[in-house]
């Protein structure tokens, strides 16, 4: 670990939503940090809390019914969770930008793409309209949109999903943020378009912007990330540098996830499955939340929750068996 302070430091973040059936814990005691220029992957299946984690960092969850119960999000020596709205606003879209999964619903359908790009610029920089126009056109060109001057006049419905995601990326990048939070940025796109967008995000890293990449696609994580966090049932279960985590997963859930990836090269052997299903956040099991589906579970796992503990430099795992996994058993 380097001694520089991290760009963003999240400590014990817990988020709950009030529902008719009682409070639902979406994120529980999540702690992690992102260094400058780092690409951090946040992986998990639907409902594990990865998107809520990302949205909570900028207080973008609807409150109520959402409630940030505890935690700190330290950015630039300030706790974003306690900042007055007037001070948070310049950070949103300025120092920290977001790219959402559905670009069509993240952009206003009633305003031209150009107007939305220029608004973002003018909110964060003292810049006049002609200069904002020119900068917007330049960024559209940078993200590979043909005929950018014409596209500035287009409404979002006139552009395809891949084009809109490029517009979102241009919008996220042009304020030169220090951190981009990308929530499943390519999930709605076709693979050939996904390849274009991932290439674009890779190219943009040269300006030392950090990226928090939220995805369920382990292939995308492998290609993009330096470090990976794995979430299951509202908690972080494992953390580590990409290669080490992929080659030597130290939590049974990570092992199972990697095992169920369908390879493009392997023979047609039977797929590894994870029995059962993700528990409901309204009725999590008392012990380890993965225990009911875990092939390695023993009595201790069902009695109490394993803490997320350091097992090696830069590696944490929430499993009583973690050290055993760390010593043996490589993945293929």
């Amino acid at each position: 670990m380097n001694s520089n302070p991290p760009l963003l430091d999240i400590q014990n973040l817990s988020v709950a939503f009030d529902t008719d059936e009682g409070p639902l814990t979406a994120v529980e005691n999540v702690s992690f940090s992102i260094a400058r220029g780092e690409v951090l992957g946040l992986v998990g299946e639907s409902g594990c809390g990865k998107s809520v984690t990302a949205l909570s960092l900028l207080r973008l969850i609807p409150m109520p019914p959402g409630r940030i119960q505890s935690g700190k999000v330290v950015f630039d020596n300030r706790d974003l969770l306690r900042l007055p709205a007037s001070e948070l606003q310049p950070i949103r879209g300025g120092q920290i930008s977001m790219i959402f999964q559905e670009p069509a619903s993240a952009l206003s359908p009633l305003h031209r793409v150009g107007a939305q790009l220029m608004e973002t610029l003018r909110l964060h920089q003292a810049i006049d309209r002609p200069a904002a126009w020119a900068t917007s056109v330049e960024w559209l060109r940078k993200v590979g949109i043909p005929d950018p001057e014409q596209r500035m006049q287009a409404y979002p419905y006139e552009l395809s999903g891949g084009m809109l995601q490029r517009v979102m990326i241009a919008m996220a990048l042009m304020t030169r943020p220090e951190l981009i939070i990308a929530d499943e940025p390519t999930t709605a796109l076709d693979v050939t378009i996904q390849a274009q967008v991932l290439q674009l995000l890779r190219d943009m890293r040269t300006q030392s912007t950090a990226l928090l990449l939220i995805t369920h696609d382990l292939g995308v994580v492998w290609e993009m990330c330096d470090r990976v966090l794995v979430m299951y049932a509202s908690q972080i279960v494992e953390e580590g540098p990409r290669s080490e985590l992929f080659h030597r997963p130290c939590h049974p859930y990570t092992r199972a996830l990697l095992g169920s990836v369908i390879s493009l090269t392997g023979s047609a052997e039977r797929l590894v499955t994870i029995d059962g299903q993700v528990p409901s956040p309204l009725s999590y099991p008392r012990g380890c939340r993965f225990a009911p589906r875990c092939p390695y579970a023993f009595d201790r796992c069902r009695a109490g929750q394993p803490p997320l503990e350091s097992i090696a430099p830069q590696r944490r795992s929430a499993c009583f068996m973690a050290s055993a996994f760390a010593q043996g058993g490589d993945m293929p």
Binding site: A195, D217, G219, V261, T265, L271
Partner: protein, 328 residues
């Protein structure tokens, strides 16, 4: 070789574009534009391509859910679809479909029992009093607890709903099941369960599957043969492993190389420029020439036919490309 279970020849499905107050037809979206292929009994054939390539429309046309403009579909040697409802009934039993979205493909007002045994009653395969027994048997077949017979779809997760869709499709002992992205809406851990179930049922009942997917990994895992579509036409087809390991058509190459895989190491990635053109106004000649890194002047004039081709490495297949001999 015996006659194939399903034979499709030069199938075209066009959707009219209507304009003006008199809804005059001003053009057509050529969603499927001349597709020929066959599925043998017991075979699993994959249909792969990106959104808008016509794979879903092709599946729906085979099911008789979209009217075709031209071409022939033969099922077990008989032309589909007969005009008279009574004549089409036996085919409706023998061809079943599993849809992508397990949330909209199950009627929320019906119980599990109603959903999975409706077809059996409709086709007169069971008597009403045998209903519960048939329902229990079907649920066991797809690995679900028989206790859920009287529940409603909203009480189930995506993976379980897809199991119900499978039970509904399998109830009538079909010969061909058209699966339209059956696992795309599911999480990875559940996806593997559902794929294994489909493989097991296929083997147990000697089913043929037409497996529509955009996911080459899934296709590779489950299909013996694959058909690659681009903008309404087939660009390459043949044995799955042969095509994925040694793609010949430039589009197949780009598609295979674009899939991000864990543990992959520095593969040569073909990044296509631009996007899929509109199917209402497809490019002249080869439809891929606007994005093809190997395009030459002839490609914009001559539509390459889908021809049998034996590359120097990899399996024999059919390819529609003018430069296949240089590229292989």
């Amino acid at each position: 070789m015996t006659a194939p279970l399903l034979q499709v020849r030069d199938l075209k499905t066009w959707f009219p574009i209507k304009r003006g107050i008199f809804a005059r037809t001003t053009g057509y979206v050529r969603a499927v534009d001349g597709v020929t292929f066959a599925v043998q009994a017991g075979e699993t054939v994959g249909l792969v391509g990106e959104s808008g390539c016509g794979k879903t429309t092709l599946g729906r046309t085979l099911m008789g859910l979209e009217p075709r403009r031209a071409g022939e579909i033969h099922f077990g040697g008989t032309p589909l679809w007969p005009r008279r409802h009574s004549a089409s009934l036996p085919f409706r039993r023998r061809i079943q479909m599993i849809f992508q979205d397990p949330f909209s493909s199950l009627n929320p007002r019906l119980t599990v029992l109603d959903i999975i045994t409706e077809g059996l009653l409709e086709h007169g395969l069971i008597r009403p009093r045998e209903r519960t027994e048939a329902g229990v048997r079907l649920l066991q077949e797809v690995g679900m607890d028989p206790d859920v017979l009287h529940r409603y779809p909203h009480e189930f997760s995506g993976g379980q709903r897809q199991r119900l869709s499978i039970a509904r499709a399998m109830a009538l002992r079909p010969d061909l099941v058209i699966c339209d992205e059956p696992v795309s809406a599911l999480d990875v851990s559940v996806r593997a369960q559902v794929l294994n179930l489909l493989i097991d049922l296929g083997a147990a009942h000697r089913l043929s599957y037409l497996f529509i997917s955009h996911d080459l990994g899934v296709i590779r895992h489950i299909c013996s043969r694959v058909i690659v579509m681009y903008l309404g036409v087939v660009v390459e087809s043949g044995p799955t492993s042969g095509i994925i390991d040694h793609p010949v058509h430039p589009y197949t190459r780009a598609l295979v190389s674009a899939v991000p895989v864990p543990f992959g190491s520095g593969r040569q990635r073909v990044i296509l420029s631009g996007e899929v053109p509109s199917a209402a106004n497809p490019p002249s000649g080869c439809r891929f020439h606007t994005r093809c890194p190997y395009a030459m002047p002839d490609c914009s004039r001559i539509a390459p036919p889908l021809e049998r081709f034996q590359p120097s490495t990899g399996a024999a297949r059919e390819v529609a490309c003018l430069r296949k001999h240089e590229l292989a």
